[in-house]
Amino acid sequence: MEDVKKDEGWIDKTLPVDWDKVKEEAVGEILPHHMKLWWYCLGGVPAIMFIILVITGMMLAFHYVPHPDMAYESVVKISTQIPYGWWLRSIHRWSAEIMIVTVSLHAIRVFATGAYRHPRELCWMTGAILLLLTFGLGFTGYSLVYTQMSYWAMTIGTGIAAKTPIIGSFLSRFMLGGEAIGDATLNRFFILHAAILPSITFLMVFVHIVLIRLHGVTEHLVGIQREVIKGLSRGDE
């Protein structure tokens, strides 16, 4: 853009934001060459999946009933009777699968390339928490459908939690809302899945991304060498 000062309209006056600067911050960051390789971009995929999951999840919550007698019926109703319910549920389910797979691959990539090194320890730690949160969201979501599989997944999941040293029985009772799976359990899993875990995940994603932008991505030789061979290097390495 030329240096011509644009006329300040109503929007510019009421919302005094320098949009060019915002755009520069958002998409203008200069990245090292290795970022062109797809396995360095696996962190962004789960972030986008998370947004899709939040939107479709909110939509699904409009018709889902977290009660043992109604849960499975309402899921069937969403899939078979509500217009495009099958579509939203499929997107929610597949986004969840993709999120879990890509988050795991992302963690493996960061570990394998040593990108967790100083000074990026906090990035790695928030990432580790996000990995656990993703698994937690997957587990609680799977249980909400309330099929036989969900029931036994709940039984096994809470059983594993019960074997934690010292706090095991507390954890198990916290998840079950009693000694066995019942009315309270489904409610708890719903609250965890639809409110508590997504909120924490959102905060963690925010911190994770801010830290990445503060540090910049790790420089690697791997990608650069490859690009040099291809003759596509920036030429200043």
Binding site: M1, E2, M59, F62, Q81, I82, P83, Y84, G85, W87, L88
Partner: protein
């Protein structure tokens, strides 16, 4: 910033790229938006029932029961309990097994978990939590009509 493009600021390449991106995004998000609205505001389906001729009083003598299947494949049972003709769903309200009419005891019996319903479909013994689902029955000129859901 190609001056040859009629002095505009946007190059042909950028214009085409942006146009493709915009069209793609509008199509995708537009479809998703329409689907979303239709999902959130589903049209209320009004259930329509039609009277279907199932049998007549000559065949369904007192104490006799007769099965029928509606257009969606769900099984029902017609019972003549001393002149009082009633129609119920065969599906047990406990876990969905099929109930049988026991002519001597004048009861419906679910063999899966020993559930019993009386001739009016009321759950009287065992695990069933509520009465059997009932269909509306009309008897006209000895013909028996059951109101079944239209599909």
């Amino acid at each position: 910033m190609n001056e040859k493009d009629g002095g505009g600021e946007v190059s042909r390449r950028d214009f085409l790229a942006n146009a493709a991106m915009t069209v793609g995004l509008v199509a995708t998000l537009g479809t998703a938006g329409v689907y979303g609205v239709r999902y959130l505001v589903p049209k209320a389906k009004v259930k329509k029932f039609v009277d279907v001729l199932v049998t007549n009083l000559k065949e369904l003598t007192p104490g006799v029961a007769r099965e029928f299947i509606d257009a969606t494949g769900r099984k029902g049972i017609l019972v003549n309990n001393n002149g009082k003709v009633k129609a119920f769903s065969k599906i047990c309200t406990h876990l969905g097994c099929e109930v049988e009419w026991q002519q001597l005891k004048k009861e419906f019996y679910c063999p899966c978990h020993e559930g019993f319903f009386d001739a009016d479909g009321k759950n009287i013994k065992g695990p069933p939590p509520r009465p059997l689902d009932e269909f509306k029955v009309t008897v006209k000129d000895d013909n028996i009509y059951v109101a079944l859901e239209e599909v």
